[in-house]
Symmetry: C2
Subunit: 266 residues, 2 copies
């Protein structure tokens, strides 16, 4: 399992039908889960270093179609981190106040502070996805927004924030199954939104919009197209990529300005 194969190379255009939704990395589910648990321990250690150092930050962007697995990723992968150093931001339909500003205004306010892991559960990319499919903005506007997004992400990366963007890639069949499960299990009814069926009916239009968004992959803020039909493999891959990235960032416990041996506690 080489996570790099799922990274969108900068400047490459993406055709989602060429990307797998059901990879398993040659592992069984049990093997995958054990490996994930092991990697999550390492993840927690590196997060503590990031938090202690308090110089760099990590921003994780999660995008997916409905039932694509964003919430599950938050729960199973990011739930293993120390919540003191994590900030989850859920971007919903903009409020009147938010709509009265540029589309990045509310997003910028949620950028992670030094030492923090920020998680965007949906993100500024919604502003070139649903808006575009629904005809709220035209292609020219969408193109302009993608440029603004690139500039915004460059601002963050120039200020010590690493950005990882994950598109959780599920097949139409897998989405049908998951939506069906929400209808069958009474304790999941509340997760079902009839509006999801309208988005599902526009599958191809969303595919096109996602493909444009995935074109914003850069070396400093790459997109990954994560095969997400198998939840355990999705969790494993994301854990691995986040862990590798934290290791690359290589945060260090800070030097202290006093001599610990000289301190006397009365």
């Amino acid at each position: 399992m080489n996570p790099d194969q799922y990274r969108v190379k900068p400047g490459k255009s993406v055709r989602l039908k060429d990307w797998h939704t059901d990879d398993d990395g040659g592992l069984s589910k049990d093997e995958g889960k054990d490996l994930t648990d092991e990697l999550l321990e390492g993840l927690a250690e590196w997060q503590e270093r990031l938090f202690a150092e308090s110089k760099q930050s990590l921003l994780i962007v999660l995008q997916a179609r409905d039932a694509g697995g964003k919430d599950g990723t938050v729960k199973h992968v990011l739930g293993a981190l120390n919540p003191n150093g994590v900030r989850i931001s859920n971007f919903k339909v903009p409020t009147d106040e938010e709509r009265a500003h540029d589309f990045l205004w509310r997003v910028h306010a949620q950028a992670p502070r030094a030492g923090q892991v920020g998680v965007f559960n949906r993100s500024h990319y919604e502003d070139v996805l649903v808006t575009r499919v629904e005809g709220i903005i035209d292609n020219r506007s969408a193109k302009a927004r993608l440029k603004h997004i690139g500039n915004f992400e460059a601002l963050l990366t120039d200020s010590g924030t690493r950005i990882l963007k994950f598109y959780l890639h599920v097949s139409p069949d897998e989405q049908r199954q998951r939506l069906q499960d929400r209808l069958t299990d009474p304790s999941k009814h509340w997760k079902f939104n009839p509006g999801d069926l309208e988005a599902r009916a526009k599958w191809d239009a969303y595919t096109e919009a996602y493909e444009s968004a995935l074109g914003t992959s850069t070396a400093a803020a790459p997109w990954y197209v994560i095969p997400a039909d198998r939840k355990w493999y999705r969790n494993l891959l994301i854990t691995r990529i986040v862990l590798n990235t934290l290791k690359e960032m290589n945060p260090q416990y800070p030097h202290v300005s006093f001599d610990p041996l000289e301190v006397e506690i009365k």
Copy 2:
């Protein structure tokens, strides 16, 4: 182990020296940890119901002396919740902007939304603790602030927020040991703040300030004095109290406005 024995009864004045720091509930450490793990599973289930219902919210206030175990509680107890429904707020020394407003301004902004568990790691109570001990405000101001705090908490509880306030009660010896550990272990040096020794030297003044603060215990927003010398017992007690409270709040999966059997997914 009856958690109610650690609750401060409304209108009762508190003498901290009468409250234990080293209870173990008659359990061994291993028994306590196993029980906590079991309760945490129930906690996660009830949190999901709270989130699904999205009508009520829960606010958990953590206060303690340095090294009293606030961060450990966040990590080990609140870390077991689904992070999508949790918001941790760390209140540090106020910024210039924050100081230019009333002392509850920044706190109010962090109140949990419906469905959410909000955690205040330090809180508005700092404004009647460190400020009072350091003479930044006088006793009359402190008294006025305690009244404002009561009114503020009543506003939240009237709007569907349950409030639980935990004072993590450690002995001077236990604090010494924990501070010493931070000096001995290089990977913990960053947690040591020489200023903590100044606060430690003012132990009794802080005790008095805490005792006043604990006087704000009400039925709807009770204070608990948690024996916190044993980290595992602290975790167990808080888990139990939060779980009991969620069960009392009794959040329900919402009824949906469509007939799940009638929905057809194409």
